[in-house]
Symmetry: C3
Subunit: 181 residues, 3 copies
């Protein structure tokens, strides 16, 4: 089983669709023994999305407090990643999608997010999608999206203490915290 | 070279298109030294598919017995994964595609498959595609397919003794059998 | 940081879009301490492509000599991968795209490329995309492209001394050079 995420640490969990990345990330937060906060970035625009959100919420059970943060992730992390709390952000891909729909300055907002992560006093586990390993998409919007997603994943990975790729529910560590000496 | 798959063991070989996953899986079965059975799930609906199937069959050579099982994989595994036989299932992605086209209850049929794998008396090596690491597909059917594929890969991976991701023909082990003590 | 690529060695750096694969590859070449040659395979057909090429060139800085080789990569490698030079080829995916647009015999041209790599007297680091881990593309051309890309990656990986997959800027070694004894 996953080892607990220590206080103030940042973990990035990457994976494809239905790779088991959310469940793995939830396991990290649960193992921390801290109060669990679920920062949800999903916005339900249609029934398919509503069904996915409800299914996710049901599978988590009642031990989580859920906070909705479709746009201002930095503020949510500042408010929730306090001592005695462990936070999951699920997921950066929907947050990016929301920001693009709002025509936001992605690089700027990503910078605010990184600053909040560095400030966090409790562990934060961020879930994000790997979307760049298929064929080049036909339309320019999809290409722009995967470029933004790739850059965002790189920036978060660069400051994260741990980065794990999940494939078929199994973790593959790409970066591990340095051993305490 | 790959080490042989022991009797009764279940191995899942994952990879993208043209990643070399089938060849790697065939190497595992060949290294077992047992009689080789190729369980083919492909159904040829058009010339492109027929050409792929023929090319695969030619590349295997004559040392394999081929069994077609486009739909009832559990029965094929029960019949073929016997002592002295090593079985490859190539591949779960086409089997899933066939099941969806037949409007089958995927979760139920996946459950039957898992039960057959647990019952198997000879080694079974299953090949499956990683399809969830590209951009979100435009159409709902493609999204449903990759959700089913992701869930199926997770379920098989959970019971498998070994799970290997193949990238550019090179294996990356995600799960390894426990050492005999 | 990445260890330097030794003389005459061939390194394949794989990754999805915006995975950080080019930057990682450039780090390998820079660490060699040799004169750096950037073999660019991009052809600018439109403004989006021109902007990408210019951004890449700016991010490299002035320490690189750039050679354009959209089609005849084997000749460029023969000319540039000499003693005291370290070469990056960025990238095989654009080269493959150019070759397909020119209706070339891909298998033959890939063979010429492999022969040039084996002849190289200075280190060559090749960047290539992983494009086969998304859903099956709708159109036959995209399917043919990813088949060609997968086969090309396998062929180069088979002769490479080192193969590294880059995810979110982080390297995952799939193949490492044998230790000198």
């Amino acid at each position: 089983m996953p080892s607990p995420a220590p206080r103030g640490s940042v973990t990035l969990v990457l994976g494809g669709a239905r790779s088991g990345k959310s469940r793995f990330a939830e396991g990290l937060v649960t193992a921390s023994g801290l109060e669990r906060v679920y920062v949800a970035t999903a916005q339900a625009f249609d029934d398919e999305m509503r069904a996915r959100i409800a299914a996710h919420r049901d599978s988590r059970g009642g031990a989580w407090r859920t906070v909705d943060a479709p746009r201002d992730l930095a503020a949510a992390i500042d408010a929730e990643a306090t001592e005695n709390h462990a936070v999951i952000v699920d997921c950066l891909t929907l947050w990016l999608s929301n920001a693009l729909l709002a025509d936001a300055d992605i690089e700027h907002e990503a910078g605010l997010l990184l600053e909040a992560l560095v400030r966090a006093r409790g562990p934060v586990v961020l879930v994000s999608n790997e979307v760049g390993s298929g064929i080049v998409p036909d339309n320019a919007l999809a290409r722009a999206f995967r470029d933004h997603q790739g850059r965002l994943n790189q920036r978060v990975a660069a400051i994260a203490d741990r980065v794990t790729l999940v494939v078929a529910g199994l973790p593959l560590d790409l970066k591990l915290p340095k051993e305490p000496s």
